[in-house]
């Protein structure tokens, strides 16, 4: 049986990982002992669900591509698959079985059919999280590029988790691996982090992959669970500086106005650009120009022209229009003083 040899390989590679601290001889003995047990278990389970496994193995890709059509098939597979995978998990590696036990709950199996795998390994959690994960994992399993583009890393990682699930549940490491390669390459082209997390996992071995998957899920779980919230948060954060800037602009009205408006020259006092109104504003006969905001501030303080140090005439603004003979400048000056006041 091919699957047996494969599972034995996977288990043998699993056990040294678990007993990192012990010496090799002990490991080997324990390995062989466990191997036999596990082999028997696995053989029984896989013989029971062999058809399903093979179906699933074959369907992994088509399922991904045309998921909605084959959803029913898949759900059946999952339902059949689930018990076998779990027993294996329990017997072989404990942390996985721990994390998977909540998925035993019939609700997750029935409610989120597509996401059972993912919710099983990823989430010990609530039905809401499992449902959300199921939706996301459905997206990534389907490998639809649009979803991938939208979801980015998360979607990709879910996909990786799905692959890890397949590994853990099927105990058929090579098949999912060989599948996952093209799958990932096709999907993960868009997102490099996926391949980065995926690559080392494959390189180290299947036994490491599974714990790693759980580790990954642990690391990503908050993100996944909070994903709907965190996305708006991000946009909020992005919008925050903008709103701040706007607020700031509102606070220092004349400044911000000057800043925004293009102008030929800048005010010698505040160095802000002079807008059209400012540049047509001549508060002193010496010809020293400045922006209306600074002019107002100077009037509030000592009221002397920075250019000639003579006191500004209070009626200088009113005098200007008569000098120029135009009512336009007068009106402009008026309107600007209103701006400065506001």
């Amino acid at each position: 049986m091919i699957s047996d040899s494969i599972t034995s390989a996977s288990i043998s590679s699993l056990i040294p990982n678990n007993n990192n601290g012990r010496d090799l001889g002990k490991k080997k003995r324990a390995r062989t002992a466990k191997l036999k047990q596990c082999k028997l278990d696995v053989r029984r389970e896989q013989w029971l669900s062999q058809g399903a496994v093979k179906n699933k193995g074959c369907k992994e890709e088509p399922n991904g591509v045309v998921q909605t059509r084959k959803a029913n098939n898949r759900s059946l597979d999952n339902l059949e698959m689930r018990p076998g995978g779990e027993e294996d998990d329990r017997s072989v590696h404990h942390h996985d079985s721990d994390s998977e036990s909540p998925s035993n709950s019939p609700t997750s199996l029935t409610s989120s059919v597509l996401g059972t795998n993912d919710s099983g390994t990823n989430f010990t959690g609530s039905s809401s999280s499992s449902s959300s994960s199921s939706s996301s994992s459905g997206g990534c399993c389907s490998g639809s590029i649009t979803e991938e583009e939208e979801e980015g890393d998360d979607g990709c990682l879910d996909d990786w988790e799905a692959v890890a699930d397949a590994l853990a549940a099927d105990e058929k490491p090579q098949n999912p691996c060989s599948e996952s390669h093209p799958e990932h390459q096709s999907i993960g082209k868009l997102v490099s982090p996926c391949q980065m997390t995926h690559g080392p996992g494959l390189g180290i071995g299947i036994s490491k992959q599974v714990p790693r998957a759980s580790g990954n899920t642990r690391a990503w779980r908050p993100d996944d669970a909070f994903r709907p919230q965190s996305l708006p948060n991000l946009s909020k954060q992005l919008s925050l500086p903008n709103s701040n800037r706007q607020h700031y602009g509102c606070g220092g009205v004349p400044w911000a106005c000057n800043n925004v408006m293009p102008a030929p020259s800048s005010c010698p006092i505040c160095y802000e650009d002079l807008d059209f109104t400012d540049s047509s504003f001549l508060p002193c006969l010496c010809g020293f120009r400045l922006c209306l905001f600074c002019h107002k501030r100077i009037l509030e303080e000592d009221g002397r022209c920075p250019g000639c140090r003579k006191p500004y005439e209070r009626n200088a603004v009113e005098a200007e229009p008569s000098v120029h003979g135009g009512s336009l400048t007068f009106r402009l000056a008026r309107s600007c003083s209103m701006i400065t006041r506001s």
Binding site: W255, C270, Y271, C294, I298, P306, R309
Partner: protein, 157 residues
């Protein structure tokens, strides 16, 4: 507050841009406080301060540029208009003749000009003022030169 800060930022940018323009003045802003500046100015030629490098400390008020910055010499200098101990500068543009159109850079230029043209009639350093007012130009020069060498010139060896 905001206005002074914005203006100082602009001045800082201007200083960075025109660093080479005036080789006699090196203006630098405090790393953490934009209201604290220091400047290094070279003593003007054909004066007893020639060859010396004098450090100035600027304390910019929040009302700047409507209010003048407070400037003082950190380097000892023998000058009728500079307090010998505190480094306080008696300069009209730093007091009532201040104009918001002035900048820190132009203040530095004004101080260099004041070093070249002391005003003994409004002295902060009475000894120096008295020497000049009594016409002892040589005495003043030797005193100023001595302090320049002592305080403002890099020591050899």
């Amino acid at each position: 507050m905001q206005a002074s800060r914005a203006r100082l930022f602009k001045e800082y940018k201007e200083v960075q841009r025109e660093k080479v323009a005036d080789p006699d003045i090196q203006l630098a802003c405090d790393d953490t406080n934009i209201f604290k500046w220091t400047a290094l100015i070279k003593g003007p030629s054909e004066t007893p301060y020639e060859g010396g490098v004098f450090q100035l400390a600027f304390a910019v008020p929040e009302q700047y540029p409507l209010q003048p910055p407070q400037v003082r010499f950190l380097t000892k200098i023998f000058h009728p208009n500079v307090h010998f101990k505190t480094g306080e500068i008696c300069l009209d543009i730093l007091k009532n003749a201040w104009s918001p159109a002035w900048t820190l850079q132009s203040v530095c230029r004004a101080i260099i000009a004041l070093m070249a043209h002391p005003e003994p009639d409004s002295p902060l350093n009475c000894d120096s003022g008295n020497l000049l007012r009594s016409g002892d130009i040589r005495g003043f020069h030797s005193m100023a030169r001595m302090y320049t060498r002592l305080a403002a010139m890099p020591k050899k060896g």
